[in-house]
């Protein structure tokens, strides 16, 4: 027989040899990638631009002298560089991303397609209004959907993100109070469980923040609230469902007491996904609510933004909404960009953002809404709540739920299940990363010790949840074993980078690349 062709294969029983050390620093598809500044060369470019048609200059004496210092790279190098960077990231497309209060739902690609249509993507914001009636109609349609879903009569679309929307709402409240001649109302009540943006926003508008404790069930303590009410209270800021993933059952009572005492009711709509299409916040008596289009309405998180934070208003606050407004005029839709043109009784409080708002996100959100429809959106909320309760039920015996169920769209646990194990919430989260999951939100809300807040969203299948549950159960059991803590402290092991030294980063901040010093200078 011919044995010259070396095609031996080993049976599965034989032990696999250990890997030799890497020569390049790479490990298979995990590739080390330097900065663009470390790869650039003069004479390389990724674009081919024509010669200018003119050489005459009219820059005054303002021509730039000296080099900027940007590296030159070819297109293949740039594409490879950013492709490699992308491979170091986890996204919703990679797997379950159970970050509480972030609503990491699937980002439909249809939305990306329609946002790029000619006739939408290439519109300049300052084109004559007669040339953009379709764009204004789109924005008007989105406004209609938001108002109908929330049961509120007015909406300001310009804020660029949730925190910007909060600012919008709180300034509107200040403007309304001033219009009533009530400048003395400077106190804003904020639950202790609130997201940090709430008190930060209140302070930015010149309010003082007065925290309200939560009761034993994790909701706003109604008695404490009533006690804190006074003639100097401007507003209450409540997240509903709240940051513990629970519906605030006293919303209507809170609204009634607030309005009776002359104050306003701000609602943080970050958790709208739990109730969209099933409850209208307007029916609860709120005066304004910001909506995160990048949460409830699927616009992509993109690594941290851009977002969009429209704010719905009650009739009491509507006159103060910031510019610009879209109104139906005699000749079609028009943009009101100046207070003088806003009409009798209107007192817009000013402008918060350049141009008209995050149009790209409006398009994506409206495509999402139209895809789901009224029936689909109600199902979104139902499935979001169902998925979270499934996690709570299936994990409630190995983890320690912070509050008795049921929850809304997110399940909150504390770190009592890790007591005396030597494993912290942080360690537990890092171990989850090794199992191929992005961890849940850690250490938020602050009212619960070592919090773990899980929001699966409605776009996770039961199979995906079951896999997640199995991993969390396994890790929780492992954490209780004697001597297990050390392994947890070293996690994650399998990621492009192990745990990073955040202390060093904060003590000696290095916030940009600088060209290395020549050897003689470095030695000094």
């Amino acid at each position: 027989m011919d044995l010259s062709q070396d095609r031996k294969s080993r049976s599965a029983g034989a032990p696999a040899p250990a890997a030799a050390p890497s020569i390049s620093g790479n490990r298979g598809l995990e590739i080390e990638e330097p900065l663009i500044f470390e790869q650039g060369q003069e004479g390389r470019t990724g674009v081919d631009l024509p010669e200018p048609r003119r050489s005459a200059e009219r820059l005054g004496a303002m021509r730039r002298a000296g080099k900027i210092g940007l590296p030159g790279l070819s297109e293949p190098q740039v594409v490879r560089h950013y492709t490699r960077l992308s491979q170091k990231n986890y996204g919703i497309d990679s797997g379950l991303y159970p970050l509480g209060s972030c609503t990491m739902k699937h980002n439909p690609r249809l939305n990306e397609k329609v946002a790029r249509l000619a006739g939408l993507v290439d519109l300049h914001p300052l084109q004559p209004v007669s040339t953009v009636q379709g764009a204004l109609a789109l924005i008007d349609r989105l406004a209609h959907w938001l108002k109908t879903l929330t049961g509120m009569p007015a909406v300001a679309l310009s804020p660029g993100a949730g925190a910007h929307g909060e600012l919008c709402g709180m300034i509107a409240i200040r403007a309304a109070l001033e219009a009533r001649g009530e400048r003395g109302r400077r106190r804003v009540l904020v639950p202790e469980s609130a997201h940090g943006t709430n008190p930060a926003t209140g302070a930015e508008c010149g309010f003082t923040i007065d925290p309200i404790p939560a009761n034993a069930q994790g909701r706003v303590d109604l008695a404490a609230f009533k006690q804190k009410l006074g003639s100097d209270v401007a507003a209450l800021m409540v997240t509903n469902p709240n940051t513990c993933g629970l519906f605030e059952p006293d919303m209507v009572e809170l609204a009634a007491r607030l309005h009776e005492s002359g104050a306003y009711f701000y609602c943080d709509g970050a958790n709208f996904n739990a109730i969209v299409g099933r409850v209208r916040p307007g029916d609860l008596g709120i005066d304004c609510m910001h909506i995160n289009l990048h949460k409830t309405f699927s616009t992509p998180h993109g690594g941290g933004g851009p977002g969009s934070g429209p704010v719905v208003f009650s009739a009491a606050l509507a006159p103060f909404a910031p510019l610009p407004w879209i109104v139906h005029g005699a000749d079609g839709l028009c943009l009101v960009e100046h207070a003088q043109a806003a009409g009798a009784g209107s007192k817009p409080f000013g402008r918060l953002k350049g141009f008209h708002g995050q149009m790209g996100m409006f398009i994506r959100a409206l495509a999402y809404m139209m895809s789901h429809g009224a029936d689909g959106l109600a199902q979104v909320a139902a499935d979001a709540v169902l998925n979270a309760n499934y996690l709570l039920a299936r994990l409630g015996d190995v983890l320690t739920p912070a509050f008795a169920g049921p929850c809304m769209h997110e399940a909150l646990f504390d770190d009592r299940f890790l007591k005396d194990s030597g494993v912290s919430t942080l360690d537990f989260a890092k171990a989850m990363i090794d199992e191929g999951f992005h961890p849940m939100t850690m250490y938020f809300p602050l009212v619960v010790h070592g919090a773990l807040l899980m929001e699966p969203t409605e776009t996770e299948s039961k199979e995906s949840l079951d896999q997640f549950i199995a991993v969390v159960r396994g890790l929780a059991e492992r954490a209780k074993e004697a001597g297990a803590a050390e392994a947890f402290h070293g996690a994650p092991y399998f990621t492009p980078r192990r745990r990073l030294d955040e202390t060093a980063a904060a003590r000696k901040p290095v916030l940009r690349w600088r060209p290395p010093q020549p050897a003689s200078q470095a030695a000094e």
């Binding site: 250490y443 955040e502 202390t503 904060a506 003590r507």
Partner: protein, 124 residues
């Protein structure tokens, strides 16, 4: 004389009559790695229990309150470049600021070392 507050600041009367203020061993342990200290301006008047400085770890910023009223006459500039001194030597090299006290009598109500030790044991 070395005294302690319930907010984990210490205050030490020096031979020259000034008072040095810092945070305790317990405090630095709870904080974790200190990354930055915001010191008060020289000449600032502080009230007992009022905001005096801020100590930052990676994930938290904590107020440091003045244990007694007075005027800030010195600050520990070394902490700007080496905030880790607060962790390694909280009672000595990691001192924050010195005060010219308004009323030494304010120190009487503070805990001595033994009382503070008992107080810390009771926490948790």
């Amino acid at each position: 004389m070395l005294k302690f507050t319930q907010d984990h600041e210490w205050i030490r009367l020096e031979a020259d009559g000034s008072a040095t203020v810092g945070i305790t061993q317990y405090a630095q342990e709870q904080l974790g790695d200190v990354v930055f200290v915001e010191l008060p301006a020289l000449g600032k008047e502080v009230a007992k229990g009022g905001d005096a400085a801020v100590v930052e770890s990676v994930k938290a910023a904590s107020e440091v309150y003045a244990p007694a009223s007075g005027k800030v006459v010195a600050v520990n500039d070394k902490l700007t470049g080496e905030p880790a001194l607060v962790n390694s030597s909280p009672m000595a090299e990691g001192w924050f600021f010195k005060l010219d006290l308004k009323d030494k009598g304010e120190l009487a109500s503070l805990m001595d070392e033994a009382a503070y030790g008992k107080f810390c044991e009771g926490l948790h």
